[in-house]
């Protein structure tokens, strides 16, 4: 017989949900609606003169070749950061999961980058790669590579990818490690007895079993790369040189906060919102099917 707790009070569920709903309304839905409204207005910075311009802001944004270039930068950047940080995170987790001396120390140390504020991590990487004062930057120039991320777009993009990935590796490492530890030992032992090599055991047993975590991390990393890397880019390159590291997010910031053009900035936020909807839908539709739970 099924046991169920039944509350007769019809209002109670709503009351219990209310705080959460209120937070979502105030901090997510309402600002989002404001952005939609602002995206159709043209306003001076002080808000003294407002005109309704319909889709002019969207047209201005989408017809700009720089916006499309920025979209391309964002795609390259997000994919690279996701791939790099997940691969490194997984590799480190597999290594740390082994029976080695001082494993806990490694685990502890590998978590540190996550505790570093984005701006600080940006400055740390700047000290390493600065062409005139950075340790690596100077060595690169000594061996004949004209390293200068302030002048070469590819160098700058590489640098922000490295810095942004480095920060996210810890997060991935933590989740992968937890997932690896939940893989049943019996399965691995059975496979080992059947003579499967460690590589084979990893790809045939471990990897499929941790796929829910991988899927979760894929989403989290994409969202991180799209929205959470502002601090790193801001501290390292400020979007330059020549827009080489200007992601969609950074561009929305530049237009809204630096250039004080709230209309086009809001239009970009709305576009970003749509991109996130699309991305999440696609991921659930196609990627999740292949995931073994």
């Amino acid at each position: 017989m099924e046991r169920r707790v039944i509350f007769n009070n019809k209002a109670l569920p709503y009351v219990l949900l209310a705080p959460q709903l209120a937070i979502i309304l105030v901090f997510f839905i309402w600002p989002a609606l404001q952005a939609v409204k602002q995206s159709m207005l043209m306003q001076d910075p002080f808000g003294l003169r407002t005109q309704f311009v319909m889709f002019d802001n969207f047209i201005a944004v989408l017809s700009s070749p720089h916006y499309l270039a920025s979209l391309r930068t964002t795609i390259v950047f997000s994919l690279a950061v996701t791939l790099a940080s997940m691969c490194v995170g997984l590799f480190l987790a597999v290594m740390a999961d082994k029976q080695i001396r001082g494993a806990n120390i490694y685990k502890g140390l590998l978590l540190w980058p996550y505790a570093v504020a984005p701006a600080i991590s940006g400055i740390l990487w700047l000290f390493i790669f600065h062409p005139s004062i950075g340790f690596v930057g100077l060595r690169l120039r000594e061996i004949g590579i004209a390293w200068d991320y302030k002048l070469h777009g590819n160098h700058a993009l590489f640098l922000v990818i490295v810095a942004a990935s480095w920060k996210q590796v810890s997060y991935n490492f933590l989740f992968f490690l937890a997932a690896l530890q939940s893989v049943p030992k019996s399965l691995l032992d059975a496979a080992a007895i059947d003579g499967a090599s460690s590589t084979r055991r990893f790809w045939s047993i471990v990897f499929p079993l941790i796929s829910p975590t991988t899927f979760f991390l894929l989403m989290m990393n994409m969202i991180y790369a799209l929205f959470d890397t502002f601090g790193v880019i801001h501290a390292l390159t400020g979007g330059g040189p020549s827009k080489a590291t200007e992601t969609l997010m950074y561009r929305a910031y530049l237009d809204g906060v630096v250039n004080l053009n709230l209309g086009t900035s809001s239009a970009q936020s709305v576009i970003l919102m749509l991109i996130v909807f699309l991305l999440t839908a696609l991921q659930f539709r196609f990627v999740e099917r292949k995931v073994h739970y």
Binding site: Q43, D44, S132, I133, L151, P241, N259, L260, N261, G263
Partner: protein, 573 residues
């Protein structure tokens, strides 16, 4: 008995005032001089002295007795004393003194006696509002003054002031604010640091939209167009001063400074405060190592290129020439110095419909030359904004175009012999070199719902205070920003500051070396910070070899004009 003494004293006082004022008394040091302040004898570590009819007393004793705050500046032997609204500036051995911004001639300058600074008693006391009388018979000076009655601070009207100057500049600015607060007891200016200039601007705009704008905000020069377009959000200085009746003369400001913050009809919109300009710093050690004359910095671009190439060839420095603020130095200043427009409509001063003009043959030629220098290795791109500063200070770059404000950092950090010179020009350009234009920031008065006339009066009083010669002069000497008014320059010069600190007057001289034309008055282009970035981006892409100089400038004009049109549309009345 009492009455008679008083009468006698008064008579003697009247007589001696005229007597002392007119004819110098022969030096008589034998008889001691007594000084009475409000009837009580003044105690002094060193006895007063008489020099050609003037009584001099130790400065600490007299200033403290009169309730003035005194500071001593050692390197130039300057005495600064403030007492309520009055500020005195004196210098040992200097016959020129300044009392509340007016130049005064002393027939006996301050002197050193037994290592104590002695100041002329009558000048000091009378300037601080006291009455002085001399009794020849008893050799007694009698001073009467009314002590300060401080009003409790609770009654003061608070005036909020947001600024964008980090330390140490912010601290010096807040010192000026503290001086203002001490000078009167009606208003209390509350200064607070709001981050960089763009941060401060964003904060002020957000506060205005929320109905809580600060009374005063410091805004960088490229934000001028945005502020001017915000009719209703700002209170123009000319209107502020007229409405409140606070005496203020905008004509004391240097034209290159005044023009930047005034309407084309001359009405001043913002109060200029910290202004700088671009100058050329060079490493004299590197010049010597390259066999160049360290006392002959390049005057023209041709000379600069030769020198930079020489420095690279002899490996005297790893970078020949670099620039900070690429747009400000190589376009805004460049256009002013060569008398070519950066944009039409007098660089936007005459209207919001201006278009950029930086794809002119001269601009393209300049970019082409920088590209050629980049290719041959005599020029290295130092990054955006002030990023280039560090590579000069560290000794890597031998020549840099940078803000005159960089001087303080060079003085502090540079471990080499250096010099400062005016910006170079192309010799074949007619009319060049003109004056350069300013950078830096100004104070804007902001409006807000419910702001009272009395609050505006407080703002006006503060503006009047900072425009006084001694305040502007000290800000200039303490920070390295240029003196923004003529009297501030004169004051600084009269103290011998420029002969002691060689080259500190160079930015001022460069700003005032010509009568500004409509190409060198300044600029007022909407969203100028964004246009600066666009120009830097196009330059970067040209230095990477991805486009020609002409293409870079055409693109910059195209993209810049789009920004200008958006601004025009946003601010359409």
């Amino acid at each position: 008995m009492e009455k008679r003494t008083l009468l006698c004293l008064a008579l003697v006082a009247i007589l001696t005032v005229t007597f002392i004022g007119m004819s110098p008394v022969a030096q008589t040091t034998a008889r001691p001089i007594r000084v009475l302040i409000n009837g009580a004898p003044l105690t002094m570590e060193v006895a007063p002295v008489l020099r050609t009819g003037r009584v001099l007393v130790p400065m600490r004793a007299i200033f403290e007795a009169l309730g003035a705050v005194v500071t001593w500046q050692d390197d130039l032997s300057i005495i600064r004393a403030t007492h309520r609204q009055t500020a005195l500036v004196l210098q040992i051995g200097n016959n020129t003194a300044w009392a509340s911004g007016t130049r005064r001639r002393l027939d006996v300058p301050p002197v050193l006696v037994e290592n104590r600074t002695m100041v002329p008693l009558r000048f000091v006391s009378e300037s601080l509002g006291a009455n002085v009388s001399w009794d020849e018979a008893t050799h007694t000076v009698t001073i009467t003054h009314s002590p300060v009655i401080a009003q409790p601070p609770a009654n003061r009207i608070p005036i909020t002031f947001w600024h964008g100057l980090a330390q140490p500049l912010g601290g010096i600015l807040e010192g000026i604010v503290a001086d203002f607060n001490a000078s009167q007891n009606q208003y209390e200016v509350q200064a607070s640091f709001r981050g960089t200039y763009p941060d401060t601007m964003v904060a002020a705009i957000a506060a205005f939209r929320a109905g809580r704008a600060p009374h005063i905000v410091q805004m960088f020069e490229v934000g001028t167009a945005t502020m001017m377009a915000a009719t209703g959000a700002v209170m123009p200085v000319h209107q502020l001063m007229r409405d409140t009746g606070v005496p203020f003369d905008p004509n004391v400001y240097v034209p290159a400074v005044r023009g930047y913050y005034s309407l084309s009809d001359g009405r001043m919109m913002a109060l200029p405060f910290n202004s700088s300009t671009t100058v050329m710093f060079y490493n004299k050690d590197a010049f010597r190592a390259a066999g160049l004359d360290p006392e002959r910095p390049p005057r023209t671009w041709a000379e600069l290129r030769t020198a930079a190439l020489r420095i690279r060839e002899t490996n005297a420095a790893s970078i020949g020439f670099t620039t900070s603020w690429p747009t400000w130095a190589q376009f805004e200043q460049f256009s002013a110095v060569h008398d070519v427009p950066l944009a039409t409509r007098a660089n936007g001063l005459d209207g919001m419909d201006a278009v950029l003009a930086i794809n002119s043959p001269l601009h393209v030629r300049h970019v082409q030359m920088l590209m050629d220098m980049h290719k041959e290795g005599s020029f290295t791109y130092g990054g955006r904004d002030a990023a280039g500063d560090a590579i000069f200070v560290s000794g890597q770059a031998a020549i840099i175009h940078a803000s005159s404000g960089l001087r303080a950092r060079i003085v502090r950090d540079a471990k080499f012999d250096w010099g400062v010179a005016m910006l170079p020009h192309y010799e074949d350009v007619r009319g060049a070199p003109l004056n350069s234009i300013i950078g830096g920031a100004a104070f804007w008065a902001m409006t807000s719902p419910g702001r009272t006339a009395e609050e505006y009066r407080g703002v006006a009083e503060f503006f009047r205070f900072v425009s006084q010669p001694h305040v502007a002069a000290w800000w200039h000497m303490d920070t390295g920003f240029v003196p923004v008014t003529f009297p501030a320059f004169e004051l600084t010069e009269s103290l011998g500051y420029y002969s002691r600190h060689v080259g500190t007057d160079l930015p001022y001289r460069q700003l005032t070396r010509a009568t500004p034309t409509e190409n060198s008055r300044g600029l007022r282009l909407g969203n100028m910070p964004e246009i600066r970035v666009v120009i830097q981006e196009e330059l970067e892409s040209a230095f990477q070899g991805r486009q020609t100089a002409q293409q870079a400038m055409d693109n910059a004009v195209l993209r810049g004009n789009a920004i200008l049109r958006t601004f025009e549309r946003m601010n359409r009345p």
